[in-house]
């Protein structure tokens, strides 16, 4: 657990959330990105900078002291951050997914007071949704919250808790009670000092190395009001799934953007050497640019699709919307690899080397994680099932 050291942040309006995130990304996340990647260390400088500007509570409504930022502003900020350091951006995205769940599904006094406190203390929230023994299905739990005399108790074997060691609070899924079936889940806010994490194993992965995502045994207790008001299935359908897919896709677009930037600079440098001769790679750049545009426009439309209906639980629960948000994740995670690979072909060995301005090794490694974190095959399997009954748009 980190201690909260920063002074109360200056709260400002949301209009410049994306611009401020972009500045932090350029000035702080970018310069540290290679070290974060090589050492697989937590991007603490990025989180400190966001804290200092109160940006960890960007999504919290103004009525609770937050910035009331929109998902499109946050999405743009994450594109900028993903461009500089995908690990930093992933931590920030995952934090905001948890905040969105609290904001949209935590109505009781305890949770509302906690959000006010989060604004003041700039807590970083993590998530414990996967569990040993469920085969990667976040829609079912083995563990259960044990509620007695207004207090809950929980022990969970989590194969992954990203930045768990650095989080100030963790939202964990569990069965509603010891008697509940595996899919009747709730989401519980676990906080220190009644939160204890016992680390299991290490995180030494191909990409997203700075997310520091080992397994943990989570033990927590607390006021039963720290369990979110809505069942997890509703939180998941109406908020976690669409917001996660939008915010992840945003930072993946950032990775793609960084790659195509290098490709463009490479082709232009070639062109300057021989004016009048279009470099051979320019055609491939045109191809990659079309791919990138598909990706960027898909994301923009998907954010708008969510924002249009974000306050309508019925429409958020419709099959067509779930299928669209799943398709976004699968498409975006595929497009990011395609754009990075194309960019590598354009830059050639300069991108394969680890020490040139065109190096794309980190981007390639990070991009591959996109289709694996919640495996695309599982997501497509869910869509396949829904399409057995979906009537089309």
């Amino acid at each position: 657990m980190t201690s909260i050291t920063e002074e109360a942040p200056v709260v400002s309006d949301s209009s410049d959330v994306s611009r401020r995130m972009a500045r932090i990304a350029d000035e702080i996340s970018g310069p540290a990105a290679d070290e974060v990647d090589q050492q697989g260390r937590f991007p603490s400088e990025t989180i400190s900078a966001l804290r200092a500007e109160g940006l960890l509570s960007a999504l919290i409504p103004r009525s609770l002291g937050g910035m009331g930022a929109s998902y499109s502003e946050l999405s743009q900020g994450l594109v900028s951050m993903g461009r500089q350091c995908a690990s930093s951006a992933m931590v920030v995205a995952m934090h905001h997914i948890q905040v969105a769940s609290l904001v949209r599904h935590g109505r009781n006094d305890l949770l509302r007071n906690y959000m006010v406190e989060l604004v003041d203390r700039q807590y970083l929230l993590a998530s414990a949704t996967t569990e040993v023994g469920t085969g990667g299905d976040v829609g079912s739990s083995v563990c259960a919250v044990d509620v007695a005399d207004g207090t809950f108790r929980l022990e969970k074997q989590a194969p992954v808790i990203s930045y768990g060691r650095f989080a100030d609070g963790i939202l964990a899924t569990a069965r509603r009670s010891a008697d509940s079936p595996e899919n009747d889940q709730v989401l519980a806010l676990c906080r220190p000092p009644e939160l204890e994490l016992e680390q299991v194993g290490e995180w030494n992965a191909l990409g997203f190395r700075g997310t520091c995502s080992p397994g943990f045994i989570l033990r927590a207790s607390g006021d039963a009001a720290a369990i979110l008001d809505d069942p997890y299935s509703d939180v998941s359908t109406q908020t976690m799934l669409p917001v996660a897919h939008i915010l992840w896709s945003s930072l993946w677009l950032g990775i793609a953007s960084a790659a195509i930037d290098r490709a463009r600079r490479f082709v232009q440098a070639e062109a300057r050497k021989r004016p009048g001769m279009t470099p051979a790679a320019a055609l491939r750049l045109a191809d990659a640019t079309a791919l990138y545009q598909q990706f960027a426009d898909l994301l923009r439309c998907s954010v708008a699709r969510f924002e249009d209906i974000q306050d309508d639980p019925d429409r958020l629960s419709a099959l067509g919307f779930a299928i669209a948000m799943n398709s976004l994740k699968v498409s975006a995670s595929t497009l990011v690899v395609d754009v990075v690979r194309q960019s590598m072909v354009i830059c050639g060995l300069a991108s394969y080397r680890m020490d040139t301005p065109y190096s794309l090794g980190r981007h390639l490694r990070d991009s591959i994680g996109a289709s694996l974190m919640v495996n695309n095959d599982r997501i497509m399997g869910n869509n396949a099932q829904m399409l057995l009954v979906h009537r089309g748009e």
């Binding site: 829609g139 079912s140 509603r176 509940s180 079936p181 595996e182 899919n183 009747d184 069942p231 299935s233 359908t237 019925d314 629960s317 419709a318 099959l319 067509g320 099932q385 829904m386 057995l388 009954v389 979906h390 009537r391 089309g392």
Partner: protein, 81 residues
């Protein structure tokens, strides 16, 4: 076979409930009784076959399948449509 009996048969075969679908109260939450969203799709397909109906897009909500009473109302609505 009555409509309720057919619904209960479908739930027994496809609902994967943790309780007996034959005796469950008609307002009991089926999702809280162990029916997964996966299972609810199969329940729906089997209901369409059993009653020769097709649920409309707006009926494809969790709430349509949350209890036996809700399913009965949904089936009746589709039969009248």
């Amino acid at each position: 076979m009555t409509m309720d009996e057919t619904i209960r048969d479908v739930l027994t075969e496809h609902g994967r409930l943790a309780v007996d679908a034959g005796s469950i109260e008609e307002n009991t939450d089926l999702f809280a009784s162990g029916m997964t969203s996966h299972a609810s799709v199969n329940v729906m397909l089997a209901l369409e076959d059993a009653f020769d109906i097709e649920f409309s897009e707006k009926m494809l909500r969790k709430s349509t399948f949350e209890s036996i009473a809700a399913i009965r109302a949904g089936v009746l609505e589709m039969k009248e449509a």
